[in-house]
Structure formats: structure tokens, C-alpha cells
């Protein structure tokens, strides 16, 4: 085979792959220059850059800060509850192997497959009957149910690395069940519980589809405010909040890349 043809066969797919990676990454970055525009409509900076749209975010009356506080509160509560329920389930299913826990696992993981719009239809009906539409508790419960699957997967993964002989040793030495669960199994799940809590937090923080239908004027989470302002107007403050979220994500992933993943496996 001629070298030119060989280069084409090996080089062209690689080049295409990097172009596609650029297609995934670069478009997201566009919000950064737009957030720095000196105009009050969505545009690239014309005669210099301005931070005024970031300043607008910090104005309490604009509502962005209160939405962030709302989302943070709900996400913390949902993450805590989802992680606790998922950890209890995962540990129980690890010890009691049988039909029931594996059937329950399918049910717990189903929000990953069932479109959220269908769950939204169901929850609007249920919460209107209980008067929980547009309430803190209503939103938090929905977020817990949607966050449980990823927490179960993360905690389950770290349980599968746990040596069952450790539990056997504890039992044969006469440890009572609560001691085994709390002092033998739980302390070995630190990384899984941490990962589960982070995934649950992100799920709640980003949740929009169901939240959109079960909230109204009172509970305005950050995604809901972004949704409304995309629909209403094209305000550069939106680019500023998008940039802030983007920078937080980039920072978190860089920290993970540089400190956590060293020597780790390349896949998630």
C-alpha cells in the first residue's frame, strides 16, 4: 500500500474524531464571549468587554441568586435523602441475595429509562390531589426519586469491590447485625457514597422536565428560571449564568482529571 493511501486510511478517521470532539466542546464555550458583551442583547462584544451582566446576576431583585439558593437547598436535601435510601437498599441487597432485591433494583433504576415527561404527568396528578404542587416537599421528593438510580449504581459499584469474607469474619466473631452494617460494611463504602451523593446532587440541581410541571410561582429553581428566561427573552444575563455554570463544571472536571483519576481506569 502506498504511504499516501495508508496515511489517508489511518489519519483521516483520527482527524475526523478530533473534529467531532471539537464539535462537542467548542460550541459550549461560546457563552463566555457572549456573556462579556457590552450590549444589552445577545451578541459578541462589539467595542470592548463588560462585566455588567455578571453584576446583574448578583442583584437579588433579578431573582438569579434566590433561584440558586432554592436549587442548592433542594439539591442538598434530595442528595442526602437519595443517598441514604440508596445506601440502605444497596447494603441490604448485597447481604440478602434474592429475587425481591433484584426486582426492586429494576424498579429503582427505571427512572433512567422511563422518559421524565411521563413521570411528570403522573406527579402533577398525584401532587394536585395532595396539595403538594409548588411546594418544597413536593419538589424534593420528586428529585429524590430521580436521584436514587445514580446513587444506587455508584454505591452498588463500590459494594461489588467489598470482600464478602470480611462480613463473614465479623459474623463468625459474633458481631450483631447493626454492628456489621454500621461498623464493617458502611466504613468501606466511603467512595461509593461520596460519588452517589455528588451524582444525586447534580441530578437534582439540573432537573428541569418534571420540575417544570410541579412548580409555579413559589418554587423557582435555577433550571426553571433559565427555562423561563430562554422562552421570554434573550438576555445576556443568561449567558453570564451559563458561563458561571460552565466554569464550575470545567473546574470540577479538571480537579478530577488532575487529582482523582491519576492511575485510574480510562473509562468511567
Amino acid at each position: 500500500m502506498s504511504p499516501a493511501r495508508r496515511l489517508l486510511q489511518i489519519g483521516a478517521p483520527k482527524l475526523l474524531a478530533w473534529l467531532l470532539l471539537a464539535f462537542l466542546f467548542v460550541p459550549i464555550l461560546v457563552v463566555i464571549p457572549v456573556s462579556l458583551t457590552d450590549r444589552d442583547y445577545l451578541s459578541l462584544p462589539q467595542d470592548g468587554i463588560s462585566l455588567s451582566h455578571y453584576a446583574a446576576l448578583l442583584d437579588w431583585r433579578a431573582g438569579w441568586l434566590s433561584s440558586m439558593a432554592t436549587s442548592l437547598g433542594i439539591a442538598l436535601a434530595a442528595s442526602f435523602l437519595a443517598t441514604a435510601v440508596a445506601a440502605a437498599y444497596a447494603i441490604g441487597a448485597f447481604v440478602y441475595v434474592g429475587r425481591w432485591p433484584s426486582l426492586l433494583r429494576v424498579v429503582l433504576l427505571s427512572p433512567l429509562i422511563v422518559p421524565p415527561i411521563i413521570y411528570a404527568v403522573g406527579m402533577v396528578k398525584l401532587w394536585s390531589r395532595f396539595g403538594l404542587l409548588d411546594s418544597w416537599i413536593g419538589v424534593t421528593i420528586v428529585h429524590v426519586m430521580l436521584a436514587i438510580p445514580l446513587a444506587v449504581l455508584a454505591i452498588g459499584a463500590s459494594l461489588s469491590n467489598l470482600d464478602p469474607r470480611m462480613v463473614q469474619a465479623a459474623r463468625s466473631l459474633g458481631a450483631r447485625p447493626p454492628t456489621i452494617f454500621l461498623r464493617v460494611i458502611l466504613p468501606n463504602l466511603g467512595s461509593g457514597i461520596g460519588a452517589g451523593a455528588i451524582l444525586a446532587f447534580i441530578t437534582s440541581w439540573d432537573e428541569i422536565t418534571v420540575t417544570l410541571f410541579i412548580t409555579g410561582r413559589r418554587i423557582v429553581t435555577l433550571p426553571r428560571r433559565i427555562w423561563t428566561s430562554i422562552a421570554d427573552s434573550v438576555d445576556p444575563a443568561l449567558a453570564a449564568i451559563a458561563s458561571a455554570l460552565l466554569l464550575a463544571t470545567l473546574l470540577a472536571l479538571l480537579v478530577r482529571l488532575l487529582f482523582v483519576e491519576r492511575g485510574g481506569s480510562p473509562s468511567r
Partner: protein, 279 residues
């Protein structure tokens, strides 16, 4: 059952109560309402099939989902195939470029595409100022914009699924093919591709399922002009309050997804990939 096992079983009770009461029950209620609202019977389903507007919505959903899936899976395969052959350092950079969009909120991504594709957006500005085009192009608020946004949303998922699956392929098989004198093209078409089929099926399944039920990206990038099932349902439950239609469409969507998953699960490779250690 030992005392220890009873304790373990008790630990699964909170999850079970919550899942049944707050997830399974509301969804069963959706299924039930589709036969009960506004009056008992199959009326909702009969009217679904006779309604031209709903027929259009279903057609749009199928076309957009099929195109999105085909484009996503092919492009994701190109990327995943390149990633698993990269040296470590480059692979970490490539995976980083996949992970950033993977973790960014779907709203932020839809907003980025609006900013880029609008009539006076970034792309049209650059193209007109450079003289490449004289009139701005209509790139968004139509099917094209929706598909760009959906492919961009689905690709990271598909790439991560494919990288995990392709990484498990035994490289000695590839080496054997090469050492037996197969040309690179033959190695790819006759060895790599057949071995990638389980990964490709999973990526296809997930992309189809997500696309069928997608609300946010089509709603924002289609702006009501590319109406898909999820958005149609959302209109029925938030403004026109036709619960019968909304629940019947939800039921059909759920059944379609159930059938897809059931077909996929018949294949042993698929079961292995789902039940495997990586899931």
C-alpha cells in the same frame, strides 16, 4: 431466614416503599387514566389514531429520533474507535472533551446552540462578515436546529457507552487478523465492526429511548415549530388540560420503549452488557 438476613431485608424497605408509592403508583395512574379520562373506554386511543395533528407529532418524533440516532451512533463510533486506540495522555484529553458536555446542564447547551445558530447569531454573523453568504441562514427553530442540538446532547452518552464496550474487545483477535495478512480495511469491516455490535446496539437503544421522550432540546431549539410527543404532552397537561390525550400518548410512548427494551434484552450479548460489571 437468619436474623442477619431479616435485618438486610429491612434495609430495603424504605427504598421499596418510596419506589412503589412515589414512582410506580403515579405511573400506573397515568396508564389507568388513559382508559378512564374523560370517560371509561378506549375513546382516547381511538381519537389518537384519527387525529391528524397527533399523527403529525408522532411522525415528527419518529423522523427526528431516527435521524438523531443514526447520526449520533455513527459519529460516536468514529470518536470512540479513535479514543480506544489513543495513547494514555491523548485519551485523557479526549475523554475530558467528552465529559464537559456530558456534565453541562441540557439548558445551557440548548442556550449555546441558540446563541450560535440564531439568524443574527454567532455563526451567521461570522459567515456574513467573511462574505461567505449574503443572507443569514435559517439554522434554528426548525428540524435542522433540533437535530444538531439532540446529536450534541446524545453523543457524549453514546461515546462513553461505546468506549466502555469497545475497551473490552480482546485485542489479540485484531492482532491475529493482522498477522494472518488481513488488510486494514478488512480488519475493520470483518473483525472490529462485528465485535462492536453489542456496544453499537446499546448505544442505539439508549439514543432512541432518550430521543423519543425528549422535551427540553426540541422545545427550545424547535420553538413550537418542531413539535415532538413530549412537548405535545406538556401542552396537554399545562394549558389545554386534555388529560385523556396526555395519558394515552404517555402510555403509547411507555409501551414503545418497553418493546424496544424487551427486543434488545432477547439478545444474549445485550443482556451480558447490561448485567456486566461495568453497569
Amino acid at each position: 431466614m437468619t436474623r442477619f438476613q431479616r435485618w438486610a431485608l429491612a434495609l430495603t424497605v424504605p427504598a421499596a416503599v418510596m419506589a412503589i408509592g412515589l414512582y410506580v403508583f403515579p405511573i400506573l395512574q397515568v396508564l389507568a387514566l388513559s382508559f378512564l379520562e374523560p370517560k371509561p373506554g378506549f375513546g382516547n386511543y381511538v381519537s389518537l389514531f384519527g387525529n391528524a395533528a397527533i399523527g403529525r407529532v408522532v411522525r415528527t418524533t419518529i423522523i427526528v429520533s431516527a435521524l438523531t440516532t443514526a447520526i449520533t451512533v455513527v459519529l460516536a463510533y468514529v470518536v470512540a474507535f479513535a479514543i480506544i486506540q489513543m495513547p494514555r495522555g491523548r485519551r485523557r484529553l479526549a475523554l475530558f472533551l467528552v465529559m464537559v458536555p456530558f456534565w453541562i446542564s441540557v439548558l445551557v447547551r440548548a442556550f449555546s446552540w441558540i446563541t450560535i445558530l440564531r439568524r443574527n447569531g454567532v455563526l451567521n454573523t461570522v459567515l456574513t462578515q467573511s462574505g461567505a453568504i449574503s443572507e443569514p441562514l435559517d439554522l434554528v427553530y426548525n428540524q435542522f436546529g433540533v437535530i444538531v442540538g439532540m446529536v450534541h446532547y446524545m453523543m457524549p452518552f453514546a461515546i462513553l457507552l461505546l468506549v466502555a464496550n469497545l475497551g473490552d474487545i480482546d485485542r489479540r483477535i485484531i492482532q491475529a487478523a493482522r498477522s494472518l495478512g488481513a488488510q486494514p480495511a478488512t480488519v475493520f469491516w470483518r473483525v472490529w465492526l462485528p465485535l462492536s455490535l453489542p456496544g453499537l446496539s446499546i448505544a442505539t437503544l439508549f439514543t432512541v429511548i432518550f430521543s423519543l421522550g425528549f422535551l427540553v432540546t426540541p422545545a427550545i431549539l424547535g420553538a413550537g415549530r418542531v413539535l415532538m410527543i413530549a412537548e405535545y404532552i406538556s401542552v396537554q397537561i399545562s394549558s389545554t388540560l386534555r388529560w385523556g390525550v396526555a395519558t394515552a400518548l404517555s402510555t403509547l410512548m411507555l409501551v414503545a420503549i418497553g418493546v424496544l427494551v424487551a427486543i434488545a434484552m432477547r439478545h444474549p450479548a445485550m443482556r451480558a452488557a447490561f448485567g456486566g460489571g461495568r453497569s
